[in-house]
Symmetry: C2
Subunit: 342 residues, 2 copies
Amino acid sequence: MTALLDRGRALTTPVLRAAVERLAPPMDTVAAYHFGWIDAEGRPSDAAGGKAVRPALALLSAEAAGAPPEAGIPGAVAVELVHNFSLLHDDLMDGDEQRRHRDTVWKVHGPAQAILVGDALFALGSEILLEMGTVEAGRATRRLTVASRKLIDGQAQDISYEHRDLVTVEECLHMEGNKTGALLACAASIGAVLGGADDRTADALEAYGHHLGLAFQAVDDLLGIWGDPQSTGKQAWSDLRQRKKSLPVAAALGSEGPAAARLAKLLAEDAQKSQAEFEDFHEAEFAERAALIEEAGGREWTSQEAQRQHTTAIQALDSIPMPGRVREQFAALADFVVVRQR
Amino acid sequence: MTALLDRGRALTTPVLRAAVERLAPPMDTVAAYHFGWIDAEGRPSDAAGGKAVRPALALLSAEAAGAPPEAGIPGAVAVELVHNFSLLHDDLMDGDEQRRHRDTVWKVHGPAQAILVGDALFALGSEILLEMGTVEAGRATRRLTVASRKLIDGQAQDISYEHRDLVTVEECLHMEGNKTGALLACAASIGAVLGGADDRTADALEAYGHHLGLAFQAVDDLLGIWGDPQSTGKQAWSDLRQRKKSLPVAAALGSEGPAAARLAKLLAEDAQKSQAEFEDFHEAEFAERAALIEEAGGREWTSQEAQRQHTTAIQALDSIPMPGRVREQFAALADFVVVRQR
């Protein structure tokens, strides 16, 4: 598993760095900081990047279509650029000050640079693909653009949910399908599209990626409440601090019984509070909310949902032929996504 | 001339509105407010939009390639979407509270919506083109993406120049070529690309649009200092209030003599002031700076520069064949751009 992620990172990073070097100063420096290649003072750095699930998927996707993994590289780079565009803008919109144990770009370089560099990475994603000049690259860019719009829709929904008392499980899954599922779906199919796969193959790979994304997000939602800050790099009770209506909360509120009722009452009161009042909460108050979510079944339901999405993801691959080794690696990636601790 | 702009607006607006309706709520409403189709309370409105130079150019561009004007519509819509993405983000980054006599989106709907809706319009631009599924649409999208990156580079340069004492005329022209020239170049060529023109034709049209953009921006820079607030919809001395290093300022500072020296001294002092102190200036203090810029020759130089760019734009068309009527309309558009009062 680690070998697969390492391969994705090793083949993608040099091309990604070369792409980012195209940015005009000071955007190239700001982007290099975001990716962890330099620190806030501009010194070379080797900060831990993301898990690199998307690049691994894109290369595997090329192999699913019978092409060499290298055929997926421009797709992997384009997807990484779009993913990081969304991180830059989301961190600013959400006011998140930390990502991967480091200060976020808007915190270090200011809001304008976070907006600008995000915009530039977004544009660069299409540019990298379209300059290939092939019909396949045009198809890949179209899929990437559709996925990007879903990503943006998902963020819009996520923001609007934070101002609401109640979000249903269905609304939450729809939002997460957009915000996380769409780009993983694109990563899982873009290599195949670049490798010349037909639409049926690309669509099946997209379905795998979509459900993988929902499994990934279900685990993320669990880690956002019960994750170990040492592993996740986020504050304890991170999602509760932000009043996020994540899956465990939605599932808990949708259940019956005294724990759900008490939780609903507390969250309704919380919604009336200012962010400052909220941040003054004692740890025990977040712990109480987390315990109620668990008692109302939100933790267990979300854990099972991750398993259900995992199963659906694997099944989506049954309809298309691919080398046995590639199929096994898609399965291993799905296993990794649901057992990870960060 | 008005007929040409009206045709562009009439053929483009319905397709633009249908595209914007694809956005998920509340982004569709926020975008409709930005375009002036509804007011801040959501009531239908008919606010004066932009001058619609870009749509007119895109349709004319199709005709230059021997295609019907309608062939340029998806290009006109895509360019308008990218243009408005940049307005939404720039207004937020620059802290501009008014555009076209109305409160800007971040002022009415908050920064997060300005970022999100900008992102969505940007993605929609490529989506509209790529879903045509033709080779020409792929080429058009590639040109649009390259232009978008230049647009972003130009905004990055513009922001960095505001913190500097001195910007040369060359730096200023380079920034304005990116910020204004690139997208007008794209508008002037995208219809031809969609209409099947070869690269030589598209490149000549791009050159026309690039120089037209520089002429446009030179006039904008004049209006930004000496424009009538009633016509421009901006505050008097608008660019001086923002300490913009626009062409008249750069040209004045690059000249010799007592007015340039006195201006340099004043602007160096201004650079030390906070934005709040600066906004407390009396009108007379802005008037003094404007008078010094004029005395140092900055106004006259910029006015001549607009004429020079106008001439170069027209000459760029000489190398390619096109119907005489279309050539006349390109010339009329260039004339309009340099004589406009808003």
